[in-house]
């Protein structure tokens, strides 16, 4: 028996090792997908059939059950990206790179959905698709930041170097997000009367906030499932690339 001098792996190293990740994540995808489907079935049933109409907005209040979870995910996704960016810069972990890269298009999609459903909701209730209001403007800026980061990922050939540089920019952007939010609120005094994110609080009856909670969980699980799947395909894509390179350099000799 030989002496093993390598440091024993702790539970985190084991989980985050790319090969191990592929093994344990494969088992997680189906349960996550099933939970997502069940939550969506329950949430949509609540949203369409078992929640009251608003006394002013009528049926259009049901847009909220799609709009609010998307808006929540648009911000959650950036927080996840910023945390992965810390992982990239501090521990230089390849899985943090992969998580950051996989989250960017998802964040952009959820932000775009939040803006789109917001516009559809705004038309019948406020009489306009778009208003340069604080919350909308800051969400639009968030979308632009996601798109800029995606463009930057695509501009680099070397994905390892790209990850570190993009992590720097993601963190700078994270510092800037409160500034953006605050400044646009300050800039425009016109503001939507009821803040949507207080909806979970006691300002609403349970008949509305229960479906909202269920839908928020459904969308969050959707995000987790999609994130895991796209992280897996990114790991596999990198492997394929390495194999292609090996074969190409073998052919050259």
């Amino acid at each position: 028996m030989s002496l093993d001098t390598a440091k024993p792996m702790n539970w985190f190293d084991r989980l985050a090792h790319p090969g191990q990740f592929l093994i344990w994540s494969r088992r997680l995808i189906w349960p996550l997908a099933i939970i997502t489907v069940l939550l969506f079935a329950l949430g949509l049933w609540y949203a369409f059939f078992n929640s009251p109409e608003d006394y002013q907005m009528g049926d259009t209040v049901r847009i909220m059950y799609i709009h609010v979870p998307n808006a929540w995910l648009s911000q959650f996704c950036y927080v996840l990206m910023a945390m992965s960016a810390i992982g990239t810069l501090v521990w230089r972990h390849p899985m943090a790179d992969v998580s950051m890269k996989a989250a960017a298009p998802l964040g952009a999609a959820f932000t775009a959905m939040a803006l789109y459903t917001g516009a559809l909701w705004g038309r019948p209730t406020w009489g306009t698709y778009w208003e340069w209001d604080g919350r909308m403007t800051s969400t639009l800026i968030l979308l632009l930041m996601y798109l800029g980061l995606i463009a930057l990922w695509r501009a680099f050939d070397d994905q390892l170097r790209a990850a570190k540089l993009i992590a720097v920019l993601t963190l700078v952007g994270a510092i800037n997000i409160p500034v953006i939010k605050f400044s646009v609120d300050w800039w425009n005094t016109l503001h939507q009367p009821a803040s949507v994110f207080r909806a979970g609080g006691p300002s609403m009856p349970p008949s509305i906030y229960i479906p909202l909670f269920v839908m928020t969980f459904a969308f969050t699980f959707l995000f987790l499932t999609l994130h895991l799947v796209s992280m897996r395909s990114e790991v596999l894509r990198r492997r394929v690339r390495t194999l292609e390179r090996k074969q190409a350099s073998g052919a050259a000799k």
Binding site: L147, G148, V168, L169, V172, I175, S183, W187
Partner: protein
């Protein structure tokens, strides 16, 4: 002469002697002001009302245009790599380059603002406020631009992608810059916006050298 001043002097000499970049930048800035009346019509009252916004957009575009040359030339000819062995830390080098860049790109624009004021029919109080808000806000513009320039320095197409990254980050500067000029924002509102603008500039100048230097170091790994 300390290493910091030596670097500052080098940057200033390079910017003023080696090329006509400073003049070209002023020309670009003034041209944006010249083009706008053609686009929105020569209505003097309307122009006067839009003038602060037009000047800020022109300064914004000019600073985006100039940003690319902040690190690129030094990265391509290897000076940046040589500077890593200098007595100065990379952060101090970035700060020196930032200061020199601000002096050679933002200050000329502020000096050229009177030309814009005449063309856009600005009145005197608005004009002075514009000067002050530009002086307070442009350091932050330069600083955010430096992050974009540092992150994209190794990309050959970096000139196109850096502005796309930096524009959303710079929106608060634009918002406070214009509301510092706007007279009918409410009592005391311009002063508050001015203070915010100065605050953003100070924070950005304090933190950006670390972020940009980190990006430059990671590029050279």
């Amino acid at each position: 002469m300390s290493a910091f001043t030596a670097l500052l002097v080098r940057e200033l000499k390079l910017a003023t002697r080696a090329s006509g970049d400073v003049l070209t930048l002023i020309l670009f800035f003034v041209m944006v002001g010249t083009i706008t009346p053609f686009a929105i019509g020569p209505d003097k009252v309307l122009l006067a009302r839009l003038a602060p916004g037009i000047i800020w957009i022109a300064a914004f575009l000019a600073s985006l245009l100039a940003m690319d040359r902040l690190f690129r030339a030094d990265h391509e000819d290897g000076s940046l790599l040589a500077m890593r062995h200098a007595a100065l830390s990379m952060e101090a080098i970035t700060l020196a380059k930032l200061i020199a860049h601000w002096l050679t790109t933002a200050v000329p624009l502020i000096i050229a603002t009177p030309l814009m004021a005449v063309m856009l029919n600005m009145d005197m109080t608005i004009f002075w406020r514009t000067i002050v808000s530009l002086a307070l806000g442009t350091p932050a513009l330069t600083a955010f631009g430096a992050v974009g320039a540092a992150v994209t320095v190794s990309l050959r197409r970096g000139g196109l992608i850096a502005p796309v990254l930096i524009m959303p980050l710079s929106i608060p500067i634009l918002i406070f810059g214009v509301s510092a000029i706007n007279a009918n924002a409410g009592p005391g509102a311009e002063m508050a916006a001015m203070l915010f603008l100065g605050g953003i500039s100070l924070v950005a100048t304090a933190f950006v050298p670390f972020a940009a230097a980190l990006a430059l170091k990671l590029t050279q790994e």
